[in-house]
Symmetry: C2
């Protein structure tokens, strides 16, 4: 790749990635708004549903977000009665997160979202796989390079 003129593509990729991410969020917004959720809250809940009970630290590792972002987000989810937060007893630095019954019940109400999204995007399984592969590569490169 070095030595090749990629200026045109880079321009498109860096912008298109940004735009596609926002477009995806817009696709979800109406459905999530009906449940009183934002897109990042939905992503956090998916991890919480999957894991059942985890620390803020582990949620941050899964979502690649720090406590500066998660603390206020989790405070809002707790305020909505969707999750439970409680200090660890053995290690009082950690905070354990778990869904409340109301929070757990919400999982059923978003159960069809993945399918509806897949239909809306209208990509083949191969395209999904390709996309996933490429996005993972970008995240891997960012983690490795740390800067350009």
């Amino acid at each position: 790749m070095a030595g090749t003129d990629t200026t045109g593509l880079e321009q498109m990729i860096c912008f298109e990635l940004h735009a596609a991410s926002r477009a995806m969020t817009s696709l979800y917004r109406p459905a999530l708004e009906a449940l009183g959720l934002t897109y990042p809250q939905y992503l956090a809940l998916r991890v919480i549903w999957h894991r059942g009970r985890l620390t803020v630290r582990d949620l941050g590792a899964a979502l690649r977000l720090d406590s500066g972002t998660l603390s206020p987000l989790l405070k809002r989810l707790e305020h909505q009665g969707l999750i439970h937060r409680q200090r660890g007893t053995d290690d009082e630095r950690t905070v354990w997160i778990s869904p409340t019954p109301a929070g757990a019940a919400l999982e059923h109400r978003v159960a069809d979202l993945p399918h509806r999204l897949a239909c809306a995007l209208d990509l083949t399984i191969e395209e999904f796989t390709q996309l996933h592969h490429l996005l993972t590569r970008i995240r891997g490169a960012a983690a490795t390079a740390s800067t350009i």
Copy 2:
């Protein structure tokens, strides 16, 4: 695609897209920070450099951003002395944007960023093309569907 179980892939895609977009921003951040720019400001400047002189409306159309986002961003670029803003004379609703000499000079200082990004990502031309195609599809689907 309808009727296929895509739950697993969707989960990954919706999160991976979000994470990859943030990772890309992180890759650029150190280089842009040295110039006093944020990533959205950089994207806006690319359009401004390319077009030379355009209205806030046209910049918003190019970036898919509304005046609510652009007005404060452009105010900061103007305050840094990188762009010029002036009301149109024939139509006083419009505001024309153009780079100042300092703003135009900045283009040379980011000239190698695309190449450095391409090297860091280490994708082939085919992969870049694939990625661009898939991201465009997502944006297109979002524009068409408007909701899922």
